[in-house]
Amino acid sequence: MENKNFSVSQINSYLKKKFNMDPKLKNIQVKGELSNYKSYANGHDYFTLKDENSEISGVLYKGRKRNLEFKPEDGMKVIIKGSVEVYEKKGQYQLKANSMKKDGIGDLYISFEKLKEKLKSEGLFDESHKKDIPKYPKRIGVITAKTGSAIKDIITTINRRYPQCEIYVFSTLVQGDFAAPQIVSQLKKSQRYDLDTIIIGRGGGSIEDLWPFNEEIVAREIFDCKIPIISAVGHETDFTISDFAADLRAPTPTAAAELAVPQTDELNNRICEINKRLTKIMDNKLSSNKERLDNICKKQIIKNPESIYNIKQMHLDQLINNLDHYSKDMITKNKSKLRLLENSAILKNPENIYENKKTHLNNLIKNLDYSSKNIITKNKNKLQLIEGSTTLKNPKNIYENKKTHLNNLIKNLNYSSKNIITENKNKLEIIKSSKILKNPNEIKNKKEDRLIINIDKLEILNPLLTLKRGYSIAKSKDKVIKSVKDVESGDEVNIKVDDGTINTKVI
């Protein structure tokens, strides 16, 4: 190969052509972290895209910046679509970005879609759960950051449209990891403040910034909220889970305020309109009534009031006429009734009444006669029966009967007394034949036996018995001698022994 010298321009131009011919490099997607990001006065942005080991220069031309959905900053992980081209002048190659997206958004998007499907299937977004937003609220609660743009927009809008509405601000973080729980707790708190409507939201930001409004706890709290709630997160194009769960979605906070309150001017116009309608109705009503009144006034009767009297007079005449007719009619009717009565049989022949009564009386007398005769006959029959009775024919029978009865009694008495005597005789025999009467000594013997036993007992104590056994009792002057001192010489002493007394003298 011929050793030929190339110029620098030639080599760079050659490389540029080589790069351009490679379809891979023409349409490439590169992932990395931004650094040295700088915007130049001409409107183009320059940066370096790097990973752990390597880096590549990059450019984003002014015209491509329109499609950018975020503000690129150093340290951001991005995905860039574009081409790799050679910058001939500097002999460098660089990444020319057609579009730039944040890396990781894909993951967020997937979890967003997942949660959206889950809550949707649970019915959290159903139209049937959506509450109507009150038309004329007295108090509105706003859950957003007190320092954000959203609250300013909302208050300004309400002030302009419907200043009679009160606004209660429940301040909360609206981005970052702590935002979602704080939004939930402020939403819970807001339930106690007698609010007609709640606006929840924040101003625009990146998808990460808006993320708290895509959290499940926030969506569920919005769904559970008893007060009608308008969600206003970010810009028109931003849709969050909160928007779906809320009763109404507003594209921006300002729009939320517009949806929350009516416009005073419109209302004034409406009332003005009503006022006009009312007046018109009343005018019509009054004029039509006046017309009717005029018509009435034109009538004959009003113009000529005597005609009322005439009519009444006519009516009265007619009544009198009728009365006359009716009374005549009545008289005629009554007369004919009277005639009928006069012609009646009873009046023509009044004796008929007397005859009837007489017949009745005669019947009574006849009946009475008959009855009394009957009674007499009956009594006569009875008397004859009595006269014919055996008792009266033979009155001795009574005496005989009584006698027989008496004899029976005497017989009974005899029999009974004999019986009693016999019984008593028997009893007496039994008594006579009793042991005790046959042998009365037996009792006596028994008594004696007992006496002997008792005497035996006594004899044991009897001093005389002692004498029997050889002892004696010496007495002097009828006193028992118990001591030598009891006697003196010459005293008579009687010694009693068993079978007698020995009279001695003391020597």
Binding site: P134, K135, Y136, K138, K146, I151, K152, I155, T156, I158, N159, Y162, P163, Q164, C165, E166, I167, Y168, V169, F170, S171, K189, S190, Y193, T264, L267, N268, R270, I271, I274, N275, R277, L278, I281, M282, K285, L286, N289
Partner: protein, 72 residues
């Protein structure tokens, strides 16, 4: 009548107008209703135009209500 909310007042007002427009109402009743309606118009106007600026309050963590000024 003062106790009615703005919404109720407005509804009542429209109800009266419709009733009057139906035309079947005796004049005495119509005059009564008209007077009621005028009263309601007055109430609505007062409610609509008496407020100059919306009262905004911030609910503090301790539940206290403090005036909220967007310009601060």
């Amino acid at each position: 009548m003062e106790d009615l909310s703005f919404e109720e007042s407005l509804e009542k007002l429209e109800e009266i107008v419709n009733k009057l427009e139906s035309g079947n109402i005796p004049l005495d009743d119509a005059i009564d209703e008209f007077n009621n309606a005028m009263q309601l118009v007055k109430v609505c106007n007062n409610k609509l135009n008496n407020a100059e600026e919306a009262i905004a309050k911030i609910v503090e963590d301790n539940g206290e209500l403090i005036d909220f000024n967007i310009n601060e």
